[in-house]
Amino acid sequence: MSIALELRNLIRSGIHRIGELELQMDVYGYPYVLCHHEVAGLATKPSFGGLDLHEDPAAARDLSTHAGDGTYRFAKGQTNLKRGWVMALENEEDLRQAVDQFYPASVGVFLAFRDGTLEIENLRDKLNRQTGMYRFARTISDAGAQRLVREVCGPAHQCARRILWRIDENTPLEDSEASRYRGIIGGLPENEAIPLLCREACNHFVAECRKVAKQEFEKKEA
């Protein structure tokens, strides 16, 4: 079954949230409507409650590039998605395309995780593949990496993803709010939301690893 039809079935089964998006069906003649979950009440009102209407799924890229205060959303899992808009879509293919622009590959990654076929990449593997100026990131200590997870990841640091990776195969993440997070915003039960999954450390985390690795090196040299 295609990812779009899988998504349709998930929504029909009661799923209505992914990241900060609220997914609704059959609103004013549109099969699918999505918006920021905090303005979901407006989306069902006449004229979509005054929210800016978008009907092209490609608009999702512009809507998700900058936060409401204009800052660049360098990671798509950041919990600073703009409000004030609503997207009304004609079919599940458009819905899938829009969701993949807000949260790239999120539905496919979730389906693979559910089916037990998702390949997870531990931090050391990710760091060891870095090139150029990021090559140095691989020298970070385990303790430095564990601390970074607490200081960079999780909802307290604006990331909505559930971390699946470890430091390496034998080194799980230490217990913290970030490592425990389920990837579902708003405390919804698991049968109402598609969790945002983090199958590999993001490039922002890699950049932070490089900074810490440099600090560790300079400390050792001093």
Partner: protein, 272 residues
Amino acid sequence: MPFAPKPHSALLIVGHGSTENPDSSTPYFEHADEIRRRSLFAEVHCCFWKEEPSMREALYMIDSDEVYVVPDFISEGYFTQDVIPRELGLTGPTSTVRGKTLHYCLPVGVHPHMTDLILRRAKEVARDIDPSQTTLIITGHGTGLNQNSTKAIRDQVDHIIAAGAGYAAVRDAYMEEQPFIAGWDELSPTPNVIVVPFFISDGLHSYQDIPVLLGIEPEVGPAASQREVFRHNPHHLRGKTLYYSSAIGTERLIADLILDQISDFDQARKAR
């Protein structure tokens, strides 16, 4: 020749992307949108080295069993020859990865039609000037690490000269190796100079670094989406009239080069 639709195949456009510059990935999405509008593939996606989705996530979002992978890169080099094959698990021109057949095409920048796009861009940026009084400079990054990135630009210079476009001189120049773009005026024997950055996006290099090297800007400024530098042409600097274009990859017709690379791949496959 019109592109024969592939309604059962996916197109995966691979780009570099950036964690810091929001404009870096814009051209890739625009190329994808352009091709999607033409309804030639069952699905069209982008993936990146430095943005999401990553190359390793890309296959999870593709339904089709056959995928054409086109590097939206300006030249062959470390990324197209090492990083992309490694990240996608490619073993040759055609590979089977997680049950899908992946066809790996050449990067857009090396397609012969790229020369036409450069000439078109040069004409657009400096419409009414006489080519015989003008030097055209194609500029890129340049690095000692891989000769291919400079080769792609030198090839374009040769093609433009061979095409007889009428420019008094056509030169290559680089940010980090000789001949340096910072010496553009000394490279140009004419009163008019057109500089076309051979990059896919107006990211850090073409929009922020090169204007400083040219002398247009006193220091590195904000990202392209927040400014309008290209509209200030021409620049009267160092006794010459300088026209600076946006990166060649921002040209919408790059979408055609992506399709051309796929057609060429299929031709070569038939011949194999």
